[in-house]
Every structure is written in C-alpha cells, then in structure tokens.
C-alpha cells in the first residue's frame, strides 16, 4: 500500500470537488420586464422600474416595472372581465386543458426556470432543479385534474367560484408559490391578480410568458410587480373577492385588519418556528440528515423550517456531535454550482436581519457553532449556525429568524417535549424522530401544528394540504383542502 502511496502521493492529497457550475447560456432574459395585464406586457402607469439583482454576485439582472394603484386597478378590472365573460362560464374540463398545458410548458422550460430561479433568488441549483420547478409543475398537473371534478370533491355542496383572487407571494419559493396560488384558483374557476415579491419577480414573469404562450384567455391571470404598496392596492381593491397571502406574520396581520368588514375571503400562510423533536430511540444518523434538511434547506428561508431542535437528553451529546460533523461537510457558495448545498441569502436586508439574530443569540449567552467553511467575498452569504444550550426563554428560540440558524434545546420526557414544542405563538409544522410507531401517533395528535412529519422533514406534495395554526395563519393550500379556499358553498 505504502508503495502505491509513495509513488503517487497526488492521489491521496485533499480531494476537493472541482467547480461544476450549471450553464446559463441557454436562458433568455430581457433587460426590462413590464407588467402582465390582460394577456399583454404593458408599461406601468407609475413609469417607475426597480432593479432585481443576483444575491450571490450583487449584480443587476434586469429591471422590473413597479405597479401603482392605477396599474393594479387595470389588472383587477381585466381579471373581473375575464371572470365574467369567459372563465366563469367555461366548463371545468376546458379549464383543465389550459392548466395541463401550463404544467407541461413548465416542464419543457424546467432548466431555464431553475437557472433563473437560482440567479434571482440565491437558492442552490440542486434545489431549484430538483424541488422548486418539478413541484411547481406538479401543482398545475394536480389541480388540472380537479377542474372538472369539483362536484365530486364536495358532493352535494354546490361549489361555486369566487371571482377575482388577489394573491401575494413571498421570495423564498418564487415560482413554486406562484404555482401553489394560481393552479387551485384556475381549477376552481377564479381569475387571478398575482404579485411576486420585489426581490424575486423573474420566474413569475417567465411564468407570465408561459401563460401568454399557452393561450390562456386574456385577463385570467395577471401578474403585477412591485413593493408593499402594490400588494396593498390589490388587497384593498373593491373588486377583489379573495385574498391569498403567504409571507410574514406582521404583514398578515395588516392584511387581516385591512379586509375586516368586507366579504373578501382570506387565507394566510405566515411564519413558523417549528420544533424538530428527536427522541433517544430515533435513528440518529438519519435524524441528523432530517435536521440538516429541516433548517438548511433553502438557506433556512422556509416558513416551515425546523428551526428549533428539541433533543432528548440521553442522546443530546452524541446527536450534537454528529450534527456538527455533518455541518462540516456542507458546501456553502455559488448557488449555480451543482455541488452547492447552501446558496446565497435572498437579500441584503434579510442577511442583516439574520446577522442581527446571531448577535442576539450570542448576547443571550447561547453557545454558537459554525463550521469552518469559507464564504464567497461577494454576495450575501451566511454560515450554517447552531445555537446550543438554549432555553425556551431565549429570543433565538421564540422568534422566526428565516435563515440558516438552528436553536438547540434538550428535554427529558415526552410531556416536556410536547409542552416546549407548542409553547410558541406559531404552529405551522413539526418533526418527530423515533423508531416507535405508537410514539409518533401520540406526538402527532398533540402537536398544535398544521404539518407534522415523522422521521423525515420538509417533504411537499401537491396532494397534501399545508397550512398553520395560531400565528402561522389559516386556510390550507394543496390537496382537496386547497380547493375549498377558492370556493363558496
């Protein structure tokens, strides 16, 4: 052995993965994007444009039109006309054809959409390629199937469409959230005015191009870009019949106040601070993997992220050692590199918010751990971070950070785990890790959380409803439940 090693020392030196960037030669991007209203791309009345940048390089990618109240009015009016004249009357099986077509076109353009999603939002190409884009297509496929079966989905309840749905989506899963919102709305016979987040408008606008190419009747889907004012204009427009919002709890509260006293239907999918609970009989190596997927998926920009780790004291030491070892192997860097595990933080603002919380945690006396990886010099990056020895009273345990920061607590008994997991204003998701089936069922029935995963984490499927308890919002998206949010009975 030693002879081979002596003769060929170069084989045995540090093995590093060479850069393997996804090509971006094939993507088509314009320098400037207009508003998508009534089937056409139109200049904004505001005459204003804002830049969208690549958070990994801080370079400008394109400029995006900013919609003002007048633009939103045009969009809502277009949606209302399309609803009254075309979409409401169209048989479900005809609507389904359009939705299927959009799903297929997303698949055809999957590679381009994945690269743009990564460039605009900073998420690792592995995720946009393997998760965001395929799931977005799957949502359209799934809801296309329901369009002509609403009577069977809700037997004897005479489901009826609502009218114009105003939809506001966040920057963490730009295309996927657009799909979550648009697909069920179209399947149930509603028309749409959608506003993507200001840092990640591009894939929604590429989706607008797909929708235009699909021949969907004009005005059925309108996409207006802009900031909070644009969103407020949608929420407050008199001809909007339904508001669907995914985003922060603070904005969710504002929206709920704004529509109080109107007959607008509302679904809110807001923040979370999920507990990932590891019992001492759990498969520990796989639990570590689940913890990693739970908190570092999409840089922790996930409302259902497993941002609190509750570990039973008997295995805490060994589990934390394994977790630290695993974190050392995470590759942080160029989101377009196929080997990158953790990409760029979505925006400068979000990075400073995360760093603020890292400071808070340190000041609170929690023990910090970060792996030895280096970060790119340019762009917005954050090391995956653990806060150890935290208690329920630490702010890093109570508040949503929305970044790659995990607060670790220990517990002694099942009752203590339940108490700690539920003792939080949020209730979106939870994770249970144990080898014992009965313990899983006991725990899942006691979690005040919309989604509970057992021995896995962050698994999404269009057939499965998603939504929260408490300050994580109300209403469900996905599955049969997701249809109900867009129907009157």
């Amino acid at each position: 052995m030693s002879k081979i090693k002596e003769n060929n020392p170069e084989y045995f030196t540090d093995w590093k993965y060479a850069p393997s960037p996804e090509s971006k030669d094939h993507i088509r991007l314009q320098n400037r994007y207009e508003l998508f209203i009534n089937g056409k791309f139109v200049k904004p009345n505001s005459k204003k444009y804002f830049d969208t940048i690549n958070p990994a390089t801080e370079e400008k990618i394109a400029e995006i039109a900013e919609a003002n109240e007048k633009d939103v009015d045009l969009a809502v009016t277009a949606a209302k006309n399309a609803y009254d004249k075309v979409w409401k009357k169209m048989p479900g099986k005809e609507r389904a054809k359009y939705i299927y077509r959009i799903a297929r076109m997303i698949q055809e353009k999957a590679r381009e959409l994945a690269v743009i999603e990564t460039m605009d939002g900073g998420k690792a190409i592995r995720e946009s390629r393997d998760i965001d884009v395929p799931l977005a297509a799957n949502h359209f496929f799934y809801y296309a199937g329901w369009a002509d079966k609403l009577e069977y989905a809700f037997p004897n309840r005479k489901p009826q469409s609502l009218g114009v749905a105003g939809q506001i989506i966040p920057w963490n899963f730009p295309l996927l959230m657009a799909a979550w919102k648009i697909a069920p709305a179209l399947a149930t016979g509603n028309t749409v005015v959608l506003k993507p987040a200001e840092t990640t408008s591009l894939t929604a606008l590429k989706l607008a191009e797909i929708i235009q190419e699909s021949g969907l009747p004009e005005g059925v889907v309108n996409i207006v870009t802009g900031f909070g004012n644009t969103g407020a204009a949608i929420v407050n427009h008199a001809n909007v019949n339904k508001v669907a919002f995914t985003g922060s709890t603070d904005v969710g509260k504002i929206i709920q106040k704004a529509i109080a006293g109107t007959n607008k239907k509302l679904t809110l999918e807001l923040g979370g601070k999920a507990a990932n609970i590891v019992f001492e009989d759990a498969p520990l190596d796989q639990a570590v993997e689940g913890i990693i997927n739970g908190i570092f998926f999409n840089q922790g920009h996930v409302c259902c992220a497993g941002s609190r780790l509750l570990v039973q004291e008997g295995v805490a030491e060994i589990l934390i050692r394994k977790l630290k070892d695993r974190m050392e192997t995470l590759i942080v860097g160029d989101p377009l590199d196929k080997n990158t595990d953790i990409g760029a933080i979505n925006s400068k603002e979000q990075l400073s918010k995360i760093n603020e919380y890292i400071k808070i945690g340190t000041n609170e006396g929690a023990e910090i751990f970060q792996p030895s990886c280096s970060l790119p010099k340019k762009g917005f990056f954050c090391k995956p971070t653990l806060f150890l020895n935290t208690s329920q009273s630490h702010r890093v345990v109570q508040e949503e950070i929305f970044g790659p920061v995990l607060a670790v607590q220990t517990f002694r008994t099942v009752e203590e785990a339940i108490e700690k997991a539920n003792n939080i204003p949020f209730g979106l998701s939870a994770g249970i890790w144990t080898d014992k089936g009965s313990k899983i069922f006991n725990m899942t029935s006691k979690m005040r959380a919309g989604v509970v995963w057992a021995n896995t984490y962050n698994k999404f499927d269009p057939t499965s409803p998603f939504g929260g308890y408490k300050e994580s919002g109300f209403g469900r998206e996905g599955g049969l439940h997701g249809l109900a949010a867009y129907l009157n009975f």
Binding site: K5, N8, F12, A18, P283, D285, E289, N293, D325
Partner: protein, 328 residues
C-alpha cells in the same frame, strides 16, 4: 497487532472478554456494547442521504483524482471453482499492468483469491507492492466448524496472504447468537497473526439495515480491520445503502475509540460513475483520512476497465472501444 491483550499484554481468549465486557487497546479500555441495542437505521432516511451523494457533480481534476484513487483501491478478484494457476497468474499480471498504454496508471491494491492460489499470486506479484488477499473460513457459506475455519485461515496466512477475507456465520447471526459470531471473528483474528482481517457480513443475506448495523458492530468490536459487504456470490451484493450503514458504524466506533476500521464494498460495482459515488459517500461520511487503500477497497473484477476507459477519455478526448482494454 493482536487486538485482545490483558493488562500485562498477554493474549486472552475471547470468551473472557465477554465476561469482563471490555478489552484493552493501546492502554485504554473499550466497552463491548450490548449488540441487541445497536443503533437503529431508517431505510428511507438512508436512501435520501444517498440521493445527495449521487447528485454530486464530480468533474475535471477531481474526477481524474477519483478515478486514479479508485484504481489503487481495487481488490482484483477471482473466486471461481474453475480458477487455475494460469488464470491467477494472468490476473496478477493485469493487477500490476492495468493499462501500460496510458501514462501514470497506478496498480490495484490487492488481488483476492482462494487459499490454494495464494502461493501463485504471491510469487507473481513479487516486487509490485500489490497485496495478496485470501478468502477463508469455508468461503462463501461459512458453514463449517470453528477448527476447520481456523485451519483454513492459518493455511492462507502460511501460504503468504497479507489479508484474510472471512465470512461471518449468518445462520448463527439470524438465530440471535451474537456471542457465537463475535467469538468466531475474534478467533479468526487471532489465527490471522499479522495479516489484516476483513470480515464479510454478506449483507444480501441479512435482510434489514438494522441487521447490517448490528453485524458491523459485532465485527468491529470482535477485531475486524476491515468490514466488507459481500462474497459476490449472493445478490444483492454491495449497495450504497448497506455501505453507508457500515460506514456509519465505523464512524461511531472511531468517535468512541479513535481506532480506524476499513471498509470494502464488494460485488456489483462495475462502473466508474458508481465507484465515484462511493468515494463521495466515503469522503462525506468518514472524511479525507479514509480516502486511501489502507482504509477503503473495492472488491471488483470488471471495475478497473471501466475506470481505465474514463481515464483514456481524459487523455484522448474520446472514448475508446472496450477492446482497447485487456480482460484478464
């Protein structure tokens, strides 16, 4: 070095280890765990982890390094009833001359043969630095008496084997006789003397990943220098899930004791791409320290040529026909 020493350095029989539930290694006491309580494994989680390894994109310099490393880690194997002196000699020549047409190609780590062919292999490989590994202990079934297995092992070592690949008694394992399996491995380890011991779990017969983990723990604590997946005679042979479970057992033992144990997946790894997937898994589970043929081997008969074809492409820019690579 024999693993089982009492405090004055004398070798002690395995059963007394059991009574004391610990043994001494380089001055420190290592507790023998209760193997019924080996860590549990979740198959879905294992497969998910593996999907991350196989999604790694290994290109350019890192690919060439991985391919050459793979060649140095191969145990070139012939284990057939029809093996002859001629066949073994030819394979040994191949082991030392994988592809003389390409520059900078290393040799394999070892050849693996039946005990009766050890002498031939040893002579053929003189001066090459390539080790001779011999299967022993009534390979592949392992259904024989303890004495015959010990004699089989001693014969292989006396003939010149540098490494011994033993099989565990799967029947006894599945009956729950973990002490029997442990003691047998310990006895063979003693019979090996200076030869390194690889313990074949034959994971294709163990049926669950929980069993693979438990068998790995037994083999490691009983004195294995390497743990190995398969004989190659049972399907499935090596798979990535099984190998990952074994690597995790090695990692846990290392964390606890600081002692490194080697890993050898064997059977069914016949393409360069798959071999690289295994190296990624090794790299991200056990780290750089294990990326050497001292600690990792591929038991394979046809892997080398596929790796050579890839290396040929790096040199020539195009793939050559299979006929450019010799079969021995």
């Amino acid at each position: 070095m024999p693993r089982f020493l009492n405090e004055s350095g004398d070798s002690i029989p395995a059963f007394s280890l059991y009574l004391s539930l610990n043994f001494i290694f380089m001055g420190s006491i290592i507790d023998i765990p209760d193997f019924r309580l080996s860590p549990v494994v979740d198959q879905v989680g294992i497969e998910e982890r593996i999907s991350r390894f196989t999604a790694r994109s290994i290109k350019k310099a890192s690919k060439v390094q991985a391919l050459k490393l793979t060649l140095t880690m191969i145990d070139l194997t012939t284990l057939e009833g029809k093996d002859t002196i001629g066949k073994v000699k030819q394979m040994c020549y191949k082991a030392a001359h994988l592809c003389d047409q390409l520059a900078g190609i290393p040799t394999v780590a070892a050849v693996c043969v039946y005990p009766t062919h050890v002498r031939t292999a040893k002579k053929s490989l003189e001066g090459t630095g390539i080790k001779v590994a011999s299967v022993a202990t009534a390979f592949p079934s392992g259904n024989s008496t303890r004495n015959i297995k010990i004699e089989d092992t001693k014969y292989a070592v006396a003939e010149g084997a540098d490494e011994v690949d033993m099989v565990i008694s799967r029947g006894e394992f599945l009956e729950g006789n973990y002490n029997f399996v442990f003691d047998e491995i310990a006895a063979i380890k003693e019979a090996c003397g200076k030869a390194r011991l690889k313990v074949i779990l034959e994971t294709g017969e163990l049926s669950t990943l929980d069993n693979v983990r438990r068998a790995s723990d037994i083999a490691i604590y009983a004195g294995a220098d390497f743990i190995k997946t398969s004989t190659g005679k049972i399907s499935p042979a090596a798979t990535m899930p099984v190998t990952l479970v074994m690597l995790q057992a090695i990692k846990d033992y290392y964390s606890k004791t600081g002692i490194m144990i080697g890993m050898k997946p064997a059977g069914g790894i016949s393409t360069a791409k798959l071999a690289i997937n295994y190296l990624v898994m090794l790299h991200e589970t056990l780290g750089q320290k294990w990326l050497s043929n001292e600690w990792f081997r591929f038991g394979a008969s046809s892997l080398a040529n596929d790796v050579l074809m890839q290396l040929g492409k790096e040199t020539h820019g195009v793939y050559q026909s299979k006929d450019y690579f010799s079969n021995d």
